[in-house]
C-alpha cells in the first residue's frame, strides 16, 4: 500500500469518497496525473481554508496602502485581518498609508435587524473628515448580503458625494469554497473600476506590472530591486505595497509578470484581451527560478543590450550569494520537505528548496484550482459547479483606444517556440516526481498522517498547523508569514531562506525533547512517588 492508500483507508467511506480525488500520489505515467480542486471542503474536517472575505480584503485589496478599506460587518473580521498578513508597505513621501489601521462598521444587533447602510455611510463621512483618502474599499462580511445592505450602491454615493474612488465588494465569507472566490471578487472590482482609469505613462524603455505579488516579508521589494537594477520600470504591483494611484496606470505597462497564478491569472488574461499586454508566469522564489524568470523577461523584449545587462546582473548577484548558498546547501542537502500553503507557494518554493538540495515530497494547496496543479491546458475541462457559478465572471473586450500589441500572434508563437513562456503556466505537477504526494484542500488529519508515513524533515505550512507539526518533532516553518522573517524572493531572499531553514533544522532545543530519565533506567531501589 502506498502512502495515499494508507491515509485514505483511515477515513470512513463517506469521507473517503470525497477525499480520494483530492489526494494524488504522482504516477508520472503516460496517463496524466489529475486532481480534484476548488470544491467544497467537507464540514467538520478541520480544513485549513479561510473564506471569501479573507481572500478579498485580507489578500487582494487590503495591501493597497493609499486606500481606506472598511470591513462592513461585526468586529471580528476587521480584527483578525488587522496587521496579521505582513503585506509590507512603505509610506510614500507625502502620501498616506492606511496599512497599520483597521476600519470597521462594528455592527450591532440593531444594525443586523434594521440594516447597516446608514452606519456605513456615517462611518465613511467620518473617515473623510478625519483622513480624507482618495480611495475607499468596502468589504462585506457574512451578514451583509443577507440583510440586504447594498455596498455597491453606498460606494457609488460616496463617489458622487466626495469625488473619490469608492468600490463595494460583496465578498461575504460564505461565497465560493475558499479564499479563491474573494480574490476573484476583488480582482473583478479592480479590473472594472481601477485599472485603466489613469493616464500616467511610464518613463522607462521597458515597463512592467508585477501581478500576484503581495510583498509578504518584502518579497516584492527584492524583486523590484533586481528588476530596477536591470533597468525595468515597475508601473504597479498587485497588490503588495500597491496603491490605487499606481494601479490606475497599470494598463500602460509593457508586460505583466504573474507571480501568484492562482489569485490573479484571470486579470492577466483580461488585460491581454483588453489592452493587448502579454503576460509571463514568473517565479522569483529560488535562484534558478529567478534567473530563468529574468532571462525570459529580457528575451521577451528582444533587446540584446537588455539581455546583456540581465546576464551581468545575474552574474553579480550570483557572485554575491554563492558562498552563503553553498554553505546552506551543504547543511541541507538530502533533506525532504512538505509544503502546504494557500496558492502558488507550494509550487514556487520547490525551486528554492531544490536549490538547497531539499526535495519536496508532499505539496498541497488550500484554495488552488486544477490548473494550478495540472497547467492551464486543462482549464477548458473544468466544469463550473454551484459554488463557482456564484462568483461573477466578468467579460472584457478590446479597448480600441488603449489596445496595443507588442508582437503579432505569429511572432508570439515564435517566441514561445524559443522557450519564452508567454501567456501560459504548466502547473505544479510537472516539477514533481513519481511517488510524491499532492493534496488539495489539506486538513489537519492528513497533515499529521502524512508526516508519520512520509517522514519529511521539515514541513512548511501556516500558523494553524505549525505547532501541531512541531509537537510531533518535525521542524515547522510558516510559509504564509515566513515566521516573521523574509524576504525569501530573489537572490538575497534565497540566502535568508537558506539561513532560516538551517536555523530551524539545527536549532539546539530539538535534542532536548526527551528527558534523560526516559532513557536511563533507575538502578535498584523502589519505584515510588507520584508516578
Amino acid at each position: 500500500m502506498n502512502e495515499r492508500d494508507l491515509l485514505l483507508e483511515k477515513y470512513s467511506s463517506r469521507v473517503f469518497k470525497n477525499r480520494k480525488s483530492h489526494i494524488t500520489q504522482l504516477e508520472m505515467s503516460d496517463e496524466q496525473d489529475t486532481i480534484t480542486a476548488n470544491t467544497r471542503a467537507i464540514p467538520g474536517i478541520a480544513t485549513a481554508r479561510g473564506c471569501c472575505y479573507a481572500g478579498c480584503k485580507g489578500v487582494v485589496v487590503g495591501p493597497m496602502k493609499d486606500a481606506v478599506t472598511i470591513t462592513h460587518g461585526p468586529i471580528g473580521c476587521a480584527f483578525y485581518s488587522w496587521g496579521t498578513r505582513r503585506n509590507k508597505a512603505k509610506t510614500e513621501e507625502g502620501g498616506k498609508n492606511f496599512i497599520p489601521y483597521s476600519f470597521c462598521t462594528d455592527m450591532r444587533p440593531t444594525d443586523i435587524v434594521f440594516g447597516g447602510e446608514k452606519k456605513l455611510e456615517e462611518g465613511i463621512d467620518e473617515i473623510m473628515a478625519i483622513f480624507n483618502p482618495k480611495c475607499i474599499f468596502i468589504c462585506s462580511t457574512c451578514p451583509i448580503g443577507l440583510i440586504g445592505d447594498d455596498v455597491q450602491a453606498v460606494a457609488r454615493e460616496v463617489e458622487k458625494k466626495y469625488g473619490i474612488k469608492a468600490i463595494g465588494f460583496s465578498c461575504e465569507g460564505y461565497k465560493g469554497v475558499s479564499q479563491s472566490s474573494g480574490h476573484h471578487i476583488a480582482n473583478n472590482g479592480l479590473m472594472k473600476q481601477v485599472i485603466g482609469t489613469g493616464d500616467k505613462k511610464p518613463m522607462g524603455k521597458y515597463s512592467l506590472n508585477i501581478l500576484g505579488e503581495y510583498n509578504i516579508g518584502g518579497d516584492g521589494w527584492e524583486e523590484e530591486r533586481i528588476l530596477k537594477k536591470i533597468g525595468y520600470e515597475i508601473v504597479s504591483v498587485f497588490t503588495g505595497d500597491g496603491s490605487y494611484e499606481t494601479m490606475k496606470n497599470a494598463h500602460l505597462a509593457d508586460l505583466n509578470l504573474v507571480m501568484c497564478h492562482r489569485s490573479i491569472n484571470y486579470v492577466a488574461q483580461m488585460m491581454k484581451t483588453k489592452y493587448g499586454i502579454d503576460w509571463l508566469k514568473v517565479n522569483f522564489i529560488g535562484i534558478g527560478a529567478t534567473c530563468k524568470t529574468l532571462r525570459m523577461i529580457a528575451e521577451y523584449f528582444q533587446d540584446t543590450e537588455l539581455i546583456a545587462k540581465t546576464e551581468e546582473v545575474i552574474a553579480q548577484e550570483l557572485e554575491a550569494i554563492s558562498d552563503d548558498m553553498e554553505y546552506y546547501r551543504s547543511m541541507l542537502k538530502g533533506k525532504t520537505a512538505g509544503i502546504f500553503t494557500g496558492g502558488s507557494r507550494s509550487h514556487h518554493y520547490q525551486s528554492l528548496l531544490r536549490d538547497l538540495g531539499i526535495e519536496t515530497i508532499i505539496a498541497g494547496y488550500e484554495f488552488a484550482h486544477r490548473d494550478d496543479y495540472e497547467g492551464r491546458d486543462i482549464i477548458s475541462e473544468i466544469k463550473p459547479d454551484a459554488d463557482s457559478k456564484n462568483i461573477e465572471e466578468i467579460a472584457v473586450s478590446r479597448d480600441e483606444e488603449l489596445y496595443k500589441e507588442r508582437y503579432s500572434g505569429e511572432k508570439l508563437e515564435e517566441l514561445k517556440e524559443k522557450g519564452i513562456e508567454i501567456d501560459t503556466y504548466d502547473g505544479m505537477f510537472p516539477d514533481m516526481k513519481k511517488g510524491y504526494m499532492v493534496v488539495d484542500d489539506y486538513n489537519m488529519f492528513e497533515t499529521d498522517e502524512l508526516i508519520q508515513t512520509m517522514k519529511p524533515d521539515i514541513f512548511f505550512s501556516g500558523i494553524k498547523d505549525k505547532y501541531s507539526i512541531q509537537k510531533q518533532g518535525v521542524v515547522s516553518r510558516q510559509l504564509h508569514s515566513y515566521d516573521y522573517s523574509g524576504p525569501y524572493a530573489g537572490f538575497n531572499g534565497a540566502v535568508i531562506f537558506g539561513r532560516d531553514v538551517t536555523m530551524s533544522i539545527y536549532t539546539k532545543a530539538w535534542v532536548l525533547t526527551t528527558p534523560p530519565w526516559k532513557t536511563a533506567a533507575l538502578l535498584g531501589g523502589r519505584i515510588g512517588g507520584e508516578n
Binding site: 471542503a41 461585526p74 488587522w82 489601521y101 444587533p109 460564505y174
Partner: protein
Amino acid sequence: MLELTPKEIMENRHITINPCKTCEPVGAMFCALGVENCMPHSHGSQGCCSYHRTVLSRHFKEPAMATSSSFTEGASVFGGRSNLTTAVKNIFDIYDPDIIAIHTTCLSETIGDDVGNYIMDLEVSDDKTVLYASTPSYEGSHIQGFSNMMIGIMKYMTQKAAVKSNRAAIFPGWVNPGDDRELKRIAGVMGVDYIYFPDHEGILETPMTGKYKYFPKGAGTSAADIKALGTAKKLIAMGHITSSEPAEFLDKQYKVPFSLIPMPIGVKLTDKYVMALREISHQEVPQTLEDERGRLVDLMLDSHTYTYNKTAAIYGDPDIVYSFTSLCIEMGMIPKYVITGTPKEEFTRQVSALLKEHGIDTGKCVIKADTDLFYLHQLIKNEPVDILIGSSYGKQIAKAENIPIIRMGFPVLDRYGNTIQPTVGYAGAIRYVEKITCALMDKVDAEAKDEDFDVVM
C-alpha cells in the same frame, strides 16, 4: 507609525478604528478548548474558524484545534442543518472527541439557524455529547462568547443531584494556562476541593514531547466534573463581566451560591480570592502563602519610587483591565486611561468606583467601554502616559509615541513565554511588578544623560 491619527478627537464616532475587542465565537472556541476531549466547532463560514484558530495559536504559540460547518452560499440560503449534521459525523469519525461544543456565528445567527433543534435530531452515541451556545458576533465581544459557551456547556452537561457535594466550584474567567495552574495551586494550599471550569492547564501549553495529541490526556475540565457542577457547595466566580452570567446560571439552575470576585491580580484582589477560599475550607491561610504576599508587598514598597504617580494606559478585556487597574493603583501609579472595546457599561462604573475608593481623581482619568485603540491613541496624543499595559496591538501606539509597553491579556501575538506563567495571584503580581518596574527603569536608563546614569537604583 500611525502618523495619520490626528490629535483632535471626534465625538460620537460611528466607525470603529483599530478595535480593542473581537467577536464572540473566538471566546466560545477558547472556552470549549478548556474541556477535556472536546472539539470546538464553529457553525458558520470556514473563515471564522480559520481566523479564530489563528489568533489562538498566535497568542498561545500552540495548536488550537477546531472545526467548521464550512457554509457555502447554499447553506446560507437554505440553512446549515445539513452542514452541521455532516460535520458532527465527520468530527466523531476523524478526531473522536467525547464532546463537540458548537458555537454559532454572525452568519448562522443572521439566517436564524436553530442549532438547538438540529442537534436534538442528531444520532449521537451515549458516551458522546453534542452541545451548543449561541454566540452572535454582532453582540458583546469575545468575552461574552466565552461566557455564553460556559453556560452552553453547563446547560447541556450539568445535572441535578439530590445532595450537595463537599466540593466547591471555581470559574477562573478568561485566563492563560499559567494562571489556571496558579489559581488551582492556591486553592490547593487553601485546602479547597474544587471543580475548575474551564481549565486550560496542559491544553494550550502542551509540553514538547515529540508527540501530538488532538486532545491532551487528562487536561481540561472533565465531563464528570462539569456534570457535578450543580452539586457544588459554593462557587467562586472570577471576573465580573466574564463570569457573572455563568455564575448566575449555576445559582439559578442548581442553587449554588457564589462569590463573584475580580480577577485576582495584585495584592488586594488576590486577597479576595484567598478569603473566598478560606470561607469555604475554614482553613487558616498557611504561612507560605502569607509569605508570598509579604514578598509582593515588600517588592512594591522597595520599587515604589519608580512607579509612583507614573501614568498608565490600560486597555483590553474588561475584567483583566479592571484588575490591572487595581494592581497599578497598588503600585502608586495613576491609571490615566482605562479602556475596553467590550460594550459593557458596568465596566465604566466598576473602574470608576475602584478609582474613587482609592481617592484617585477620576476627572483626570478617562474610563471608557465600547471604544477603540484609535481613541486611546488620540487621548495619548493630547496627554501622554508613562506606560502602556495591554495587548500587542498597543505596540503601534507605543512605537508612535515612544512609550514602553507591557503586554498582558489577550491577544499577545508578539512575545513568548507569558501564557505559561501566572499573571494572577501573588506570584503573577510579582512577575508584573518586575516587568512594569523594569520597563519604567529601562526608560530612565535609556533617556539618562551620561552624567545622570546610575549603576545603583
